[in-house]
């Protein structure tokens, strides 16, 4: 089997952690690196979390530290969802390794080596990718595809109009959406259309070990973790974007032109999807609009239950 070479750009983060656990045990992937970006928490905390998650899973994957602050705006973090440490009430052993200091360098060097085959799954603010593209414009021809978790057509979460990852660095998102690499947008339209109930989380594993307990603990922290306005589910935002690469039938969507709003007072950070094709601008993103619920639940269970057998 020819593996998909990927870099996971993330800000762990509860749902990032689930995405990493899914990725670690997916034989379809050749994970070249995990790059971190400030988002759900500060860069020190999310980088530490990434190192810890790699070690807990017993993997030897390079973690490279990325952007400390957004391109332009003042930093926002999501402690209200992910807690003070970025993993809410989950406490992991101190990491033994340290992070590579330069995510941009890692992204660029891997892209060069892979000669156009690299796929980037970006599930945090898009600061690292924007910086990489500005420093290395030749990345345009060196990256096969970017799959992002971010944005939303119908609604936002941190504001009525904007989703957190985009809101945390709208200017970076603008750079990435306008860059010209094939882009898949897995936004709130699908990531909040499904999720795991508390019962579904507790029924995920039949046998427990140290790792499954961590996964279950993280998922339980996510149930109802986004506030009372939403269903009491664990929303599996980031892993849904990752699993798009694993299952052709997981998400349905179409190509649209998407503009990034960076000036609006109510809509700052909105992904403006030209849903009715009102203008003739290029279709720069494939936007997911429907999730196959059966596949989603089956896939997540299958990918996470692997950890029972360790």
């Amino acid at each position: 089997m020819r593996k998909i070479p990927i870099i996971i750009d993330c800000d762990p983060g509860l749902d990032d952690a689930i995405a990493l656990f899914v990725a670690f045990e997916s034989p379809e992937f050749d994970i070249k690196a995990i790059t971190t970006v400030a988002g759900n928490q500060t860069i020190e905390k999310v980088t530490k979390n990434a190192l810890q998650l790699v070690e807990v899973a017993g993997k030897d994957i390079l973690v490279a530290k990325g952007a400390r602050v957004p391109l332009f705006r003042e930093q926002v973090i999501a402690a209200y969802v992910h807690g003070e440490n970025g993993l809410k009430t989950t406490v992991l052993p101190e990491p033994k390794k340290t992070a590579h200091p330069d995510a941009i360098k890692v992204i660029y060097e891997e892209a060069l080596k892979l000669k156009g085959e690299l796929v980037i799954v970006a599930v945090g603010p898009l600061t690292n990718l924007a910086q990489a593209f500005m420093v290395h414009p030749d990345l345009k021809d060196l990256i096969k595809k970017i799959v992002i978790m971010g944005g939303g057509h119908k609604f936002g979460n941190i504001t009525p109009a904007a989703e957190f990852n985009i809101f945390a660095d709208p200017e970076a998102a603008k750079v990435v959406f306008e860059f010209g690499v094939e882009l898949v947008m897995v936004g709130l339209d699908v990531t909040m259309a499904d999720g795991l109930t508390r019962t579904q989380v507790t029924e995920l594993f039949t046998h427990h070990n140290e790792t499954t307990r961590i996964i279950e603990h993280i998922l339980l922290d996510m149930v109802n973790g986004e506030g009372s306005a939403y269903k009491p589910w664990a929303y599996i935002h980031d892993a849904m974007a990752l699993m798009y690469l694993l299952y052709d039938d997981l998400l349905e969507g179409d190509y649209y032109h998407v503009d990034l709003e960076t000036k609006g007072h109510l809509t700052y950070g909105k992904t403006v999807v030209d849903y009715y094709h009102t203008h003739k601008k290029n279709k720069n993103a494939w936007v997911a609009f429907h999730v196959n619920s059966e596949r989603f639940h089956q896939a997540l269970k299958e990918r996470l239950s692997i950890y029972e057998k360790r």
Binding site: N157, P160, D259, L260, E261, K263
Partner: protein, 308 residues
């Protein structure tokens, strides 16, 4: 029982049909028609309002309002409504007199003299209504509700982020939505479901009277444009605001807090609907979401039959 209304519009094909529906319904006591620039320039929309009412043998107090948005230049929609703003049917010139006062002065007079709360219907840019609310805030207490055609919870039609009426005068819309008055928003979410198909137009035409023929010809023209844009039928936007006031049971709706983006690069004129209560504010708007299309068409045909 009828209730008093003021009808602010920019006819416009769907405005014209909305007006005819309102004048045919026994639910309304129409105290005045005020006109704004929008689908076409004020001179044209005023002329159109008068021609439609004269043709249908109706009279009303009619007053011209603002010829441009509060803070922006006027954008018109000749590609949708033609050069006259009402291309299609033959409509002779009207001798219907025009009030010697501005729309906001007519609104003021009607509200001051009304013993009942008055409902405002606004099917164009909200310039006149916004200006009125800024000039005479003390008269808000005489307004029952404002039913508008405008905005969209999701998407837009003039830009990807905004619907035409709100986009043309977002500042006026901002005043209206932040006025504290109850708003009924017939936006694209519902009006794109209020589609008039070819067979519906033939149903209207087969009524066989002067006004029904004129309405069918308005719909012919309106449908042709929308077909060219890939729509399966003609979305009869403005008629939704009127139909809701006649029979709310045709619609499903939800209460939300809605605010207006006035500073966006791509989203100016967006009606930002707080679907998940992120602001924690009290709802200010009844957002119409779905419509019983068949019953809506029945209502249209029934009201058109009112005309000789």
């Amino acid at each position: 029982m009828s209730f008093p209304i003021l009808f602010d519009c920019d006819p416009g094909h769907d405005d014209a049909i909305a007006l005819l529906m309102a004048f045919a319904s026994d639910r309304f006591d129409i105290k005045g028609v005020t006109v704004t620039g929008g689908n076409q320039t004020l001179a044209k929309t005023l002329n159109n309002a008068r021609r439609v009412l004269s043709f249908a043998n109706k009279t009303a107090r009619i007053a011209p309002g603002c010829d441009k948005p509060l803070m922006r230049e006027l954008e018109v929609a000749p590609q949708v409504h033609g050069d006259t703003g009402l291309d299609g049917p033959y409509l002779p010139e009207s001798d219907l007199p025009v009030e010697d006062k501005h729309a906001v002065e007519l609104m003021k007079e009607v509200l001051e003299n009304s013993t009942e709360l008055v409902t405002l219907i606004a099917t164009g840019p909200l310039t006149n209504v916004g200006l009125f609310l800024t000039m005479y805030p003390e008269l808000k207490v005489k307004i029952k509700q404002i039913a508008i055609m405008g905005g969209a919870m999701i998407g837009g039609n003039w830009t990807s982020g905004a619907e035409f009426n709100i986009l043309v005068d977002p500042e006026a819309a901002h005043i209206v939505f932040n006025s504290g008055l109850p708003i009924i928003m017939a936006g694209l979410d519902v009006t794109h479901k209020a589609l008039i198909y070819k067979e519906d137009i033939e149903r209207v035409r087969s009524v066989g009277k002067k006004v029904s023929t004129m309405v069918a010809e308005l719909l012919d023209f309106f449908a042709k444009f929308h077909q060219s844009m890939g729509y399966k039928g003609a979305p009869l936007h403005d008629a939704c605001a009127v139909a809701y006031l006649i029979d709310p049971s045709l619609f499903t709706s939800k209460e939300y807090f809605v605010d207006i983006e006035t500073q966006g690069e791509f989203t100016t004129g967006a009606t930002v609907v707080d679907q998940n209560n992120r602001y924690g504010k009290k709802p200010n708007t009844t957002v119409l979401l779905d419509i019983n299309r068949e019953k809506f068409v029945d209502l249209l045909v029934e009201l058109v039959k009112h005309y000789a």
